[in-house]
Symmetry: C2
Subunit: 182 residues, 2 copies
């Protein structure tokens, strides 16, 4: 942030405003305070029979690695709507959202992942423009060394733990502190 | 947004960038795309014995109404850290986070509420600078007509439903669609 997006002034300072306790970009010309907050990444692990659908990323970061379909929540969307959209965009598939399985904090990059489990409609899927490949995996086939992000590995571990115990538990994790669900 | 925060140009357009499907503010001078995404509001309902702690707001909006301590998640924070901070700021109290009870979508204002249940440490609390008053309420004492936001009413209903059933269910709601938990 080099200029005030309200008045165009370069007279910006990064300081704690009056009656606040966090530093913000403050415009000393028009007095606008520019708040910056974490973003949500929403996604869904599509399940079909005993298999789960992953997509191999065609974009940076983590190009070529396998991922739970996920992406930034957009303005005007509910978290579940965003998750359905990401599955549509990355796997050319429809899901029926089942339950929220993961809340995963990535404080260092100002992100929070919210990932659902859903049923892959009709077992049908394709390859979205951001994917190189989509594939259904049994638990023993998961390419653990080629999973794109720790959040996705966490959600996969959480899902298989839930399936084993017959529960629909929400798992709360973070990078790098949390041990994966067993 | 009137000016590009990167280069200061007023040559901004709100349009769908190449290889995207959502309209964004795009700078036609330096080509920066300015993404805008929903914000998270994090909070915690502090519980002490058979009572819950609410704070009466000393700030707009909803000045004078009762609320579950909540506020915007800040950069660098986990969702639970943000909830603990909000309880500290609004109720001058410490909580031990117990579980996530609510994910509440407010698509129209680009917000998602994430609220926990926690134990009020030692039953001690005060009045933070953003509160007029703090008070412990039994279920039958809750001032339902003077609750600040639908998200807080939803979380209170969810908590009393969970306490009745002995479960720690996550409830997913939204405004205005969702019926409150019973």
């Amino acid at each position: 942030m080099n200029f005030c997006s309200h008045c165009g002034s370069a007279d910006l300072q990064f300081r704690i405003p009056d009656q606040d306790n966090q530093p913000r970009f403050v415009c000393d010309n028009c007095h606008t305070i520019h708040y910056q907050n974490p973003k949500m990444v929403t996604g869904c692990l599509p399940v079909w029979e005993d298999r789960v659908l992953l997509c191999r990323r065609a974009i940076a970061p983590a190009y070529g690695l396998w991922n739970v379909p996920s992406g930034y929540l957009e303005n005007g969307e509910s978290v579940a709507d965003g998750a359905r959209r990401e599955v549509r965009e990355e796997a050319a598939a429809e899901v029926t959202i089942d339950y929220l399985i993961t809340v995963y904090d990535l404080e260092k990059v100002n992100q929070v992942y919210l990932q659902f489990v859903g049923e892959l409609a009709g077992g049908r899927y394709g390859i979205g423009p951001e994917s190189l490949e989509s594939r259904l995996f049994r638990e023993e086939e998961i390419p653990w060394k080629d999973i794109a992000f720790t959040s996705s590995a966490y959600t996969l571990r959480a899902y298989f733990a839930n399936r084993k115990s017959g529960e629909q538990l929400l798992h709360r994790g973070s990078f790098p502190e949390t041990a994966p669900p067993q």
